[in-house]
């Protein structure tokens, strides 16, 4: 990769610097300044509603944070949300990618319909689902349930987290489908044909050819989704506001409550640090995968 023109080396060094300077400087500031401030605040006693009480707090904020049952509940909710959405979108996305890879009439349009939810803004999807789909008496889902003679479900009061999971999964399933469908294009058709000639059934072909081929794309999907799903916010904000109780308060929403409802800068920042650490654990793996890809 570095074996460029000999002349590009020396002159290139300077030119590279000046060409990249704006992007690099801005991103560096965007990263370091808020990050530094979050870290700093997390060790401070700093509440916007109590202007008098400021000063170094040591580990106090963290101590409060980690002994607060709300944090552990929020962590659990975050895990459940991320885990379920990942499971649904990855398994569903893989199956759908296989389906939409087959030739059938109007495949192009069907594909476009199936990936559409990804382009719908989160506030719209959440409100459309909450009202028109999941409303206990007038929603489409309760109407379907009733026409099958089943009792209607009051989604957001009896199954709040499940409802959020369904909405978020609906938004991200198309993402998985889109990525995996793209990865499928490079699947060697001859290999599939050869396997079929040898008498391999569709199930065997799926498990021994398709799935191994999609392995890398699937891990990319998992990691990118994880980064976004760890901090799902708008869907919760417009539907449940984290409730009932703390039932749908994930880490992102808890930090929001501490930050912009309680105005407790110190606590919110400590929570922010926890979120950053969690996201970074995922990020390390993703960056490594992309790095490996950059080599070839």
């Amino acid at each position: 990769m570095n074996k460029t023109r000999a002349s590009g080396r020396t002159v290139g060094g300077l030119r590279t610097l000046s060409l990249q300077a704006p992007a690099v400087t801005l991103l560096l500031m965007w990263m370091l300044v808020p990050l530094g401030m979050t870290l700093w605040f997390s060790f401070q006693r700093y509440n916007l509603l109590m202007p008098g009480m400021t000063g170094f707090a040591g580990l106090e904020n963290y101590q409060y944070l980690f002994t607060d049952p709300a944090l552990w509940s929020a962590m659990g909710t975050t895990l459940l949300l991320v885990g379920w959405v990942l499971a649904i979108t990855v398994v569903g996305g893989t199956l759908l990618a296989v389906l939409f890879q087959q030739e059938f009439a109007g495949r192009g349009i069907a594909r476009v319909l199936a990936i559409s939810p990804f382009f719908v803004m989160p506030t719209v999807s959440a409100l459309v689902w909450k009202n028109m789909m999941m409303h206990p008496s007038n929603g489409v889902l309760s109407w379907v349930a009733e026409s099958f003679g089943l009792p209607a479900v009051d989604w957001f009061s009896s199954l709040p987290l499940t409802s959020i999971i369904i909405i978020v999964a609906w938004q991200w399933l198309p993402f998985a489908l889109l990525i995996l469908l793209t990865a499928m294009q490079s699947l060697d058709e001859d290999q599939v044909e050869a396997a079929r000639m040898d008498g391999a059934g569709p199930v065997a072909i799926f498990f021994f050819i398709t799935l191994p081929h999609l392995k890398r794309a699937i891990s990319v999907v998992i990691m990118i989704e994880m980064i976004f799903l760890l901090t799902i916010f708008a869907e919760i904000f417009v539907t449940t506001s984290g409730g009932p109780g703390l039932a749908t308060t994930n880490l992102a929403y808890l930090i929001y409550i501490r930050a912009l409802l309680d105005f407790d800068v110190g606590m919110a920042s400590a929570g922010g640090v926890v979120a950053i650490v969690l996201a970074n654990i995922v990020a390390i793996f993703l960056v490594r995968m992309v790095a490996r890809n950059l080599e070839d």
């Binding site: 590009g8 087959q102 069907a110 476009v112 489409v140 916010f233």
Partner: protein, 296 residues
């Protein structure tokens, strides 16, 4: 469309692959028919909430909350009211200004950077690219407090400028990466030839690189527009009335007091329609940007 009853074909799904052995023409026909039915059913189920939303937008409020029905007399009443009473236009203008403003800015900063990474790589290029990717992993909630306080102190809260700055920086890593993968696909000889003829770097970029990679630059820009348009964490937390884009405006329908489904639907339809069309147009190229080139 009998989208509401698409459950039935699902039961056939298990049977389809088993009955397909493409030895006979007839069975190939059956297979294709089965796949068509299955593929379209799945696509319609996934698309249904969007379809239903568009439909509800053309109903009266009374018809919107009545039992789900495909038969009604369409009206533009809700569109009219959304336009007249809620000031939809000003929010739409905010969305357009912020999405396109931040995209133009991001492209302007990213093009020189991606150019130098693709054509003048040094030993640090790979590291820089990966570092840029890692800034994207910083969860927004982690830096909510510092950004909020900085914006409050410099008067950027609830301004379009503020949102443009945040969105530019938010999308910059993706824009650089995506442009980089497009630039790298371009044969180097052409630029080389231009340089032989005495073209300066600026001329090289303006008259050779940009025209030749215009489709790539365009789809990068479109992805950035889509991501900014649909962004709902910063828009909900940093704007209130003046600079609120459509994501925040739609969130205002979440108040539990009134059930204005028809108006919500009409507003939502207008808010997502342009982006949905852009998304359909660029779905293939978008994968590069969304996966940082890991899946092409």
């Amino acid at each position: 469309m009998t989208t509401a009853r698409t459950k039935q074909p699902g039961t056939q799904s298990a049977a389809v692959p088993l009955t397909t052995r493409p030895s006979l023409l007839a069975s190939a026909g059956v297979r294709k028919l089965g796949l068509t039915v299955l593929g379209w059913s799945v696509a319609c189920v996934i698309f249904f909430p969007i379809f239903w939303m568009v439909l509800t937008g053309f109903k009266t409020e009374a018809a919107a909350i009545a039992d789900p029905s495909l038969i009604f007399s369409p009206t533009l009443e809700s569109y009219q009211e959304v336009h007249d009473r809620t000031g939809y236009a000003s929010f739409a203008i905010n969305s357009v200004v912020v999405a396109f403003g931040s995209t133009l800015l991001a492209l302007l900063i990213a093009i020189p950077s991606a150019y130098s990474m693709a054509f003048l790589p040094t030993r640090r290029t790979k590291g820089t690219l990966l570092w840029m990717l890692s800034t994207k992993m910083l969860p927004p909630v982690g830096v909510l407090m510092p950004i909020y306080l900085i914006f409050r102190d410099v008067g950027l809260l609830d301004t379009r400028t503020g949102l443009i700055i945040v969105y530019t920086l938010m999308n910059l890593p993706i824009v650089v990466w995506m442009l980089y993968t497009f630039f790298k696909d371009m044969p180097k000889d052409i630029l080389e030839a231009g340089r032989m003829d005495g073209a300066s770097t600026l001329q090289e970029v303006l008259f050779l690189l940009m025209p030749l990679t215009l489709p790539g630059i365009a789809s990068t820009g479109l992805l950035s527009v889509i991501l900014s348009w649909n962004e709902a964490f910063w828009s909900l937390n940093l704007t209130s009335s003046n600079a609120a884009p459509l994501t925040a405006y739609i969130a205002s329908f979440s108040s539990p007091e009134g059930l204005f489904w028809a108006k919500l639907s009409a507003a939502s339809t207008m808010a997502i329609a342009p982006i949905l069309v852009l998304g359909w147009m660029t779905q293939k190229q978008m994968v590069r940007g969304l996966t940082f080139g890991a899946v092409k």
